[in-house]
Symmetry: C2
Subunit: 235 residues, 2 copies
DNA sequence: TGCATTTTATTTGTCGACAAGAATTTCAGG
DNA sequence: CCTGAAATTCTTGTCGACAAATAAAATGCA
């Protein structure tokens, strides 16, 4: 079913590229909800779709499982991991903390090169906002905050933050829907303020802005979830 | 070379146990420094040592690579990841933060069952301290703090904390050596104080104790590293 | 003898195949 | 028509083998 897509499958791949290809494709399809949570992943089907053996697909699945994006049921199918809406607050708690510490550290350790990269990422974000490209916004927003995190130079925070932002990609569609498909121009201004604080090396202000930024996003999502739940009950 | 070890290799394994076996063995050997950083890992050698095919070993290596314990050089050997002594402060920064947030959350959300488990882990830790079992101390200390983290009920923090404590297992031998092989009885008292704060639900005290706990460990390691570095220069 | 190049050898990445375990279907009995 | 057991299909976990890429050794040349 629905196998008439043109993947532009390059019949001859370089030696070590198989796993990366499978990993990237699967990862993007999971994060963009092309593969919704709970979807079973058939190895042989994927193998013939990507025109490769089951081995590299298996390796990609192991990596995705290590990141928590898929869940491996032993001797049974591996499925796309579910979003735990019950314990979503733990996600909000963690991502808020990462917003804070990465922005703080960026204000402390950023170089001029870091600043240039952050500003470039912000420009990309503004571009996608202007174009009203929702998926692009999510991606460029992620890149913006990862650029800040890398300026902070703590790979542990950067890695966790990256995974949390990726996990957020599966929730963000809800977030943007909560604006009624109107895109948040205020985020652009908040980003600009964060850049200014980082450039000035003002750790306290950077922390405060990051906290507010995270709080606003979290509250927005939470209100939508509450609204959605009530609708479900009202039925 | 040195292949005359008795591993008690069970000639017949259950179906899905191969990867887990290889993963656990490799992981422990890496964390206990039986395989020092930089050691190349030969897949075929490991395969015949564990009496299995290369496939499950490969899968275990991918998992370890995802955790950062091994580094895969494409088309070349995968080696045990190096400890980056240059940027060790990022490790200290992150683990201090995790000490704090997990202990805070435990004070907030712990149940009576969590408390019982934490106290049991502390008893285990005391036992290894009394026995002067260094490797046991490191393991039971890890379990103690992970029990606290799980009482805090944030899987993101628990996962990162676990990985940081594991990474610490490769640095802790330095830490204990800095006492001149005398074991720190004071840690036991600090643990008891943390348990009391968690039991009382006193978030502020829990935070303060965790911070002090982390700071003391970090400072101890840092002084030893500085001393060691000076020795190297003095030669 | 020292350096560059070819040849050999080692190790990884990928493949197809086979068997074990689980899910599904078939079939018998009530 | 329904229920439960046996058989079948399907999917995964593991294996041995082969080819590409790299490292090591050998050879030729100055």
């Amino acid at each position: 079913m629905m196998d008439d897509e043109q993947e532009s499958l390059p019949t001859d791949r370089k030696r070590g590229s198989g796993v990366k290809l499978a990993y990237d494709i699967l990862r993007n399809e999971i994060l963009d909800l092309v593969l919704p949570p709970g979807t079973p992943i058939d190895e042989v089907q994927l193998a013939e779709r990507l025109a490769m053996s089951r081995t590299p697909i298996r390796e990609a699945l192991v990596r995705l499982a290590a990141e928590g994006l898929v869940t491996t049921l032993t001797n049974r199918s591996t499925i796309v991991s579910n979003i735990d809406f019950q314990n979503l607050h733990t996600f909000f708690d963690a991502i808020t903390l990462m917003y804070r510490v990465t922005t703080r550290l960026a204000a402390e350790y950023r170089t001029d090169g870091d600043l240039a990269l952050i500003r470039a990422r912000q420009a990309d974000y503004v571009g996608t906002v202007r174009a009203e490209d929702e998926l692009g916004m999510i991606a460029t927003n992620r890149d913006f905050h990862i650029a800040i995190a890398e300026a902070g130079r703590n790979p542990y925070y950067t890695a966790l933050f990256g995974r949390l932002l990726d996990e957020g990609r599966r929730i963000m569609p809800i977030y943007y829907a909560s604006y009624g498909d109107r895109l948040p121009e205020s985020v652009v201004a908040e980003h600009e303020a964060m850049i200014a604080a980082i450039a000035a090396g003002d750790v306290a202000t950077a922390d405060r802005l990051a906290t507010a930024h995270a709080d606003r996003i979290v509250k927005q999502i939470q209100t939508f979830i509450a609204r959605d739940r009530r609708q479900a009950i009202d039925l």
